[in-house]
């Protein structure tokens, strides 16, 4: 039942909290191996939409599949095939780098021998060999973010959801982070990224811009610039979001 083409395919997703419609009639397809940028101002409904796709939040209405599973009826199956990194750092601060990696890899059912090898590889790749046995609480923010990304991708999920992964880190770390995203993409994973940084939007294969719970624009960065006759993504965003009521 898995379609090789679209790993995410949803139609008319809506989420209401009381009178407030956080996500309004969202329809979206994301292709396998794609880096999909999910843009929008604060409060536009990005995080809520992403939480529905991950099975953390039940849609009020609408339907769709993620990694080939129904988002209404099979959220637990979806969770087996995705990785997730929230905007809030959410590894266990008191556990060491290696303990955190082992914990999440085991939860995703990786065999013990693979875990040790991959965790060692990952530590080396991150340049964190020296701090493998230190509690992650003590690490600098940029290191924590990259570690959280590694924890979300160690089991090579079909799709990785990243909720503002580069919030609050310096430009050099951001660049390193995007290198990791490209590497994951080249290994066949699909990446679904929300971000505030419009320069980052340029690194994505395709970008959607959400305003007041609805998707207002969806195309490749080049296509969007052409469509809105803008020189940069920054300008595109300003044009699309100018009539936003929620900020």
């Amino acid at each position: 039942m898995k379609t090789s083409e679209n790993v995410i395919s949803v139609r008319h997703l809506t989420k209401r909290f009381g009178d407030f419609t956080a996500v309004d009639d969202l329809s979206l397809d994301v292709r396998k191996g794609e880096i999909f940028g999910f843009l929008g101002a604060n409060g536009a409904g990005k995080t809520t939409a992403m939480r529905m796709l991950c099975g953390l939040s039940r849609p009020t209405s609408g339907s769709g599949t993620v990694a080939g599973f129904d988002i209404v009826r099979q959220p637990e199956d979806i969770k087996r095939h995705i990785g997730y990194m929230s905007q809030k750092f959410s590894l266990y601060g008191q556990l060491t780098v290696r303990e955190n990696l082992t914990l999440f890899a085991t939860i995703y059912g990786m065999p013990a021998s693979d875990i040790r090898r991959k965790a060692d590889e990952a530590c080396r790749a991150l340049g964190m060999d020296g701090v493998r046995d230190r509690p992650v609480r003590d690490l600098p923010l940029g290191w924590k973010q990259r570690l959280a990304f590694t924890a979300a991708t160690l089991h090579t999920p079909d799709i990785v959801f990243l909720d503002e992964p580069t919030g609050g880190v310096d430009p050099a770390t951001r660049r390193k982070f995007w290198e990791m995203i490209y590497r994951a993409s080249s290994e066949g994973m699909t990446l679904f990224v929300t971000t505030h940084y419009l320069d980052e939007a340029e690194y994505c294969h395709r970008v959607s811009i959400m305003v007041d719970g609805r998707i207002r624009a969806l195309d490749s960065p080049a296509g969007l610039k052409q469509q809105f006759r803008a020189a940069t993504m920054d300008e595109v965003f300003r044009i699309v979001a100018q009539d936003a009521r929620r900020t």
């Binding site: 953390l56 809030k88 008191q94 999440f104």
Partner: protein, 370 residues
């Protein structure tokens, strides 16, 4: 069943607990504190009852009544006054609990074959002390009067004295009554508060969301929260029993396995409750206050400090819904009376039912998806 996931989650919980600066200390310090301090404090035995005497008789007999009273173990004559008002002031100041008034002409009337009355007034501010103090005082007075009438050869109504056999606790030591129940207090506090704290702090730090987005099952996750407190509960009970043995020389008369069995069931009840409350709370303060309300009611209505038998009918019925009630009954019966499952199966069954119920509620209220 996700046994492999459960194992790694348990390992995580254990590691986090050991690295927490407070929890390991709490697990050792709490039993010591509760078991060492509370028995010293929680002494409802009445000693040192102060008696203020108003002696208007000034006879040989009245002086003997006062002297005998002062000589008895739990009574002290703190003042001999001339007027009742003066005696009352001693009560107001708090150095007397009971006022004894011996009317003038008491000795003459008694010798003359009339039946004059001695008058005892107890301070009702502290009801237990007042009532028991007055009882002690009247017992002492009666003894003196009986002895006196025997010596004089006059017949006072013969008080029938019975031989008394105090089973299970022959020395009537109040501590023996309290200590088994204190372990219940320990489990209520530790296994009730810690899971709630643990879960809410995972909520606040966001790690619980990281778990919710993984394939970890609902039951697996809840079990990983319950099982550690199971172990902690058994540890705490063990420390408690050791303190009871080493410090107070109290060992269970019944089999130790019955105590552990009850402790296992009860820890599940409490940690199930703690997890359920944490599932439903969004802030630390909220979960603590709700938990606190439960704990206060559990301690007051469970028959810990005040006997259930003293409650009115409706309140007694209510206590059937209070799980610690059963655990306290089991602890006291096994510790002091040497009872076993055959005697206490109803209490075990009730505890097991509560354990099952609260664990199910804990798993049911845990939502992976909003």
């Amino acid at each position: 069943m996700q046994t492999r996931i459960l194992r790694i989650l348990l390992k995580k919980e254990l590691t986090l607990m050991l690295r927490n600066p407070l929890i390991p200390r709490l697990i050792v310090a709490m039993p010591l504190l509760v078991m060492l301090v509370i028995p010293l404090v929680a002494d409802l035995d009445v000693k040192d009852v102060g008696v203020a005497v108003v002696d208007r008789d000034h006879s040989l007999l009245s002086r003997r009544l006062v002297a005998d009273m002062d000589a008895s173990a739990s009574l002290t004559v703190t003042a001999v006054c001339d007027t009742y008002d003066e005696a009352l002031r001693h009560i107001e100041r708090g150095d007397a609990d009971v006022v004894l008034t011996i009317p003038s002409g008491y000795f003459r009337d008694l010798s003359g074959g009339k039946s004059p009355h001695l008058d005892l007034s107890a301070n009702g501010v502290n009801a237990t002390k007042g009532i028991l103090g007055a009882q002690y005082a009247s017992r002492s007075l009666l003894q003196t009067l009986t002895r006196w009438s025997a010596e004089e050869g006059t017949a006072l109504p013969e008080a029938a004295t019975a031989s008394v056999l105090n089973r299970y606790n022959p020395t009537l030591n109040f501590r023996n009554y309290m200590i088994p129940a204190l372990m219940v207090v320990l489990l209520i506090l530790i296994c009730g508060f810690l899971p709630a704290l643990n879960l809410v702090s995972e909520k606040e730090s966001g790690t619980i969301e990281a778990m919710n987005v993984t394939p970890v099952g609902r039951f697996t996750f809840v079990l990983s929260k319950l099982i550690p407190f199971w172990a902690i509960g058994l540890l705490v009970v063990t420390v408690g029993m050791l303190v009871g043995w080493l410090v107070y020389g109290l060992v269970p008369a019944g089999h130790i396995a019955y105590i552990y069995l009850a402790a296992i069931l009860f820890t599940l009840v409490m940690s199930g409750l703690g997890v359920s409350i944490a599932n439903r709370s969004s802030t630390l303060l909220q979960s603590i206050f709700v938990m606190f309300a439960f704990i206060v009611i559990f301690q007051l209505m469970g028959g810990l400090f005040t006997p259930i038998a003293s409650m009115p009918r409706w309140a007694q019925v209510l206590t059937y819904a209070i799980p610690p009630r059963y655990f306290i009954e089991i602890m006291r019966a096994v510790y002091l009376k040497g009872a076993g499952i055959a005697d206490l199966w109803q209490q075990y069954a009730a505890l097991a039912a509560f354990a099952l119920l609260f664990c199910l509620v804990a798993a049911k209220t845990y939502r992976k998806r909003e």
